[in-house]
């Protein structure tokens, strides 16, 4: 994992994933271009490309944005999360074709620099009806570019997972900008029930899924511990933790995961060092806690990734009192060895 910045290497699952990305994109382009040529054949090649790729990009963006909450709601969707960055980069490339052709077609070959022209050729910033919608698309494309450019784990390391995550959360800003870009642009000139309906449906689907997931997680956050004895917090009984799995608790302000394996129990931080995945939803595989998102591994008794990897997470002390598990809320330094409790 930490050694060569390439934890997520090529493997069969990724190849299948990528194959389906390409198939999906080709089917989309064939449908859009085919239908347009058959039913509206006076189109120009440039317009065909601009529209085919613009609409493809927004369609892919919706698929990307539903995968996150689906994987949070049901772990069977996790394989879709595993290689989502390739879907993201593909979406960016489609958006780049759209934006690139648009800038070339509408803003280039004039008497000013094309980028300057995006901002200045229509100055009606104060009017919704006349708003320069291309500016919104431009900012969205810049965000998508930054995300695609930093999608490799090399950048995750270099920017620190926190900054990286913040940058990648900007996908929601980009999504908002793109929705406005379409509603204030193409849909104003050619409004139709169909296109407005599909855009609205997309937005409602994404918003609902995120709200449902969000409320589920807030509820989970409320299951705080109650009894505190001499600083030790009671979390649950031993048989409440499934074998090779964990239960997640909030102690202090941190989420921790209490794992049960080989008649032992260990507590570690719930937050994966890779992209902050929920380790407590992972499983102990070959003696290692394995992250559900991309499979980073940690030893449950010391929070260290097995050699040659170097990731370390915080560990916590546990106590068994009559099959009741107690945690000491202070996080130990990352990678601190703690004797597991046995039962």
């Amino acid at each position: 994992m930490g050694v060569n910045y390439q934890p997520v290497l090529w493997n069969r699952n990724k190849k299948i994933y990528d194959k389906w990305i390409v198939i999906g994109m080709l089917i989309y382009l064939l449908c859009f271009i085919g239908i347009t040529i058959i039913t509206n054949n006076e189109t120009s090649v440039e317009t065909l490309i601009i529209r085919a790729f613009g609409t493809l990009a927004i369609a892919l963006l919706h698929i990307i944005l539903v995968i996150g909450p689906l994987a949070r709601l049901n772990s069977k969707f996790l394989p879709l999360l595993y290689n989502r960055r390739h879907l993201g980069v593909s979406m960016f490339l489609a958006a780049l074709v759209h934006g690139g052709f648009s800038v070339f077609q509408f803003h280039s070959l004039g008497n000013v620099n094309p980028i300057y022209a995006i901002f200045t050729s229509n100055m009606d910033y104060g009017s919704l009806a006349n708003f320069p919608f291309q500016v919104l698309g431009f900012f969205a494309l810049v965000i998508l570019f930054l995300m695609a450019a930093t999608s490799h784990d090399f950048w995750l390391k270099n920017l620190s997972p926190k900054t990286w995550k913040r940058l990648h959360m900007m996908v929601y800003l980009a999504y908002g900008l793109i929705i406005l870009h379409v509603f204030l642009g193409a849909l104003q000139q050619q409004p139709s029930i169909g296109s407005i309906a599909i855009m609205s449906l997309g937005f409602i689907t994404i918003a609902t899924l995120h709200l449902v997931t969000g409320s589920k997680e807030t509820k989970a956050d409320k299951t705080k511990t109650q009894h505190i004895e001499n600083g030790w917090e009671y979390v649950c009984d031993i048989d409440e933790v499934p074998e090779d799995r964990a239960k997640i608790f909030i102690v202090g302000k941190e989420r921790i995961a209490v794992f049960k394996y080989d008649n032992k129990l260990s507590a570690i931080s719930n937050v994966c060092k890779h992209q902050g995945g929920p380790l407590g939803e992972g499983k102990v595989v070959d003696g290692c806690v394995t992250c559900p998102w991309h499979g980073y591994q940690y030893l449950p008794h010391n929070g260290q990734s097995p050699p040659p990897f170097t990731e370390k997470i915080a560990t916590y002390r546990l106590k068994n009192d009559n099959n009741k598990i107690y945690v000491l809320p202070e996080a130990l330094a990352e990678g601190t060895e703690v004797e597991p409790i046995t039962f």
């Binding site: 198939i23 239908i35 077609q105 070959l109 008497n111 642009g185 104003q188 000139q189 499934p242």
Partner: protein
């Protein structure tokens, strides 16, 4: 003992449980159906494109009498006693003027001269335009003869016309759509690059008419008209006929924005 029944997916481990596989397969199937639905909806909800034409890859040589009243045009004989005035444009979002500099330096008077020009034709609805991409492709055929210049005829004063100010290059063929909000930024750049502004009107019977816009003295307008481009507007001015084209002479400050079609729903 590891609990093998307990389904857990690890990306880099090739095998994948039957249940997970089924969920993912369903997602892919559903995802592709969604993609097809979106493609169908977006493809079918496009407005119908016009049959305007831009011969990007074909060069055509035309010969005629050059004139600028005030915009560069070529009066071309199409049959005995019938002429067509072809609007001349430069490459990209530029007027013909930069491309005419060379020939202007070579001959004393360009207006009224018979010249031959090779370029790309743009045409729609009875109007023809020519894009010049190379100043070498303009040659003098016959020296200036003011007899051959077209005649203008003043038709109506203070006429009110509703329509959209477009850039003729894109509207008559280079882009689809070459008008409206989608195209507005481009039209602004074209007209600010010297391409003549044109008012396109459509009556109840869907018959369109086009007017080259000039100021009240008949001089070109470019920069001052930029804020009014690509929006439904009301223009008031004097109409002058230039053979197969109309001109509309206006005071830019009297243009009224009708705040119509590009509306918010």
């Amino acid at each position: 003992m590891e609990n093998k029944e307990d389904d857990f997916y690890i990306g880099y481990v090739d095998n994948i449980s039957v249940k997970t596989k089924k969920t993912v397969t369903n997602f892919v199937f559903f995802g592709i159906l969604t993609l097809i639905t979106i493609a169908v909806i977006f493809a079918f909800t496009q407005n119908t494109f016009k049959n305007s034409t831009f011969e990007l890859t074909t060069n055509t040589k035309i010969m005629g009498v050059y004139h600028e009243m005030p915009y560069p045009m070529l009066k071309v004989k199409t049959a005995e006693n019938t002429f067509k005035n072809i609007l001349l444009l430069g490459f990209g979002k530029s007027s013909a003027n930069p491309f005419l500099k060379k020939i202007r330096n070579e001959i004393s008077q360009l207006s009224g001269s018979m010249v031959s020009i090779e370029g790309n034709l743009i045409y729609y609805n009875g109007k023809t335009l020519l894009q010049i991409t190379n100043d070498e492709k303009i040659t003098l055929v016959e020296k200036a003869n003011s007899q051959k210049l077209p005649q203008t005829k003043s038709l109506v004063k203070d006429m009110e016309l509703k329509g959209e100010i477009i850039d003729p290059k894109c509207y008559f063929g280079v882009m689809k759509p070459g008008k409206g909000k989608i195209h507005r930024s481009c039209a602004v750049l074209c007209i600010s690059g010297g391409i003549p502004p044109v008012l396109a009107t459509t009556d109840e019977n869907n018959i369109s008419e086009y007017y080259l816009i000039t100021d009240l003295k008949g001089n070109p307008i470019n920069k001052k008209i930029l804020p009014y481009i690509g929006k439904p507007s009301l223009l008031t001015g004097n109409i002058v006929q230039l053979e197969d084209w109309y001109q509309l002479q206006i005071d830019v400050n009297t243009i009224k924005d009708l705040n119509r079609p590009s509306k918010i729903y």
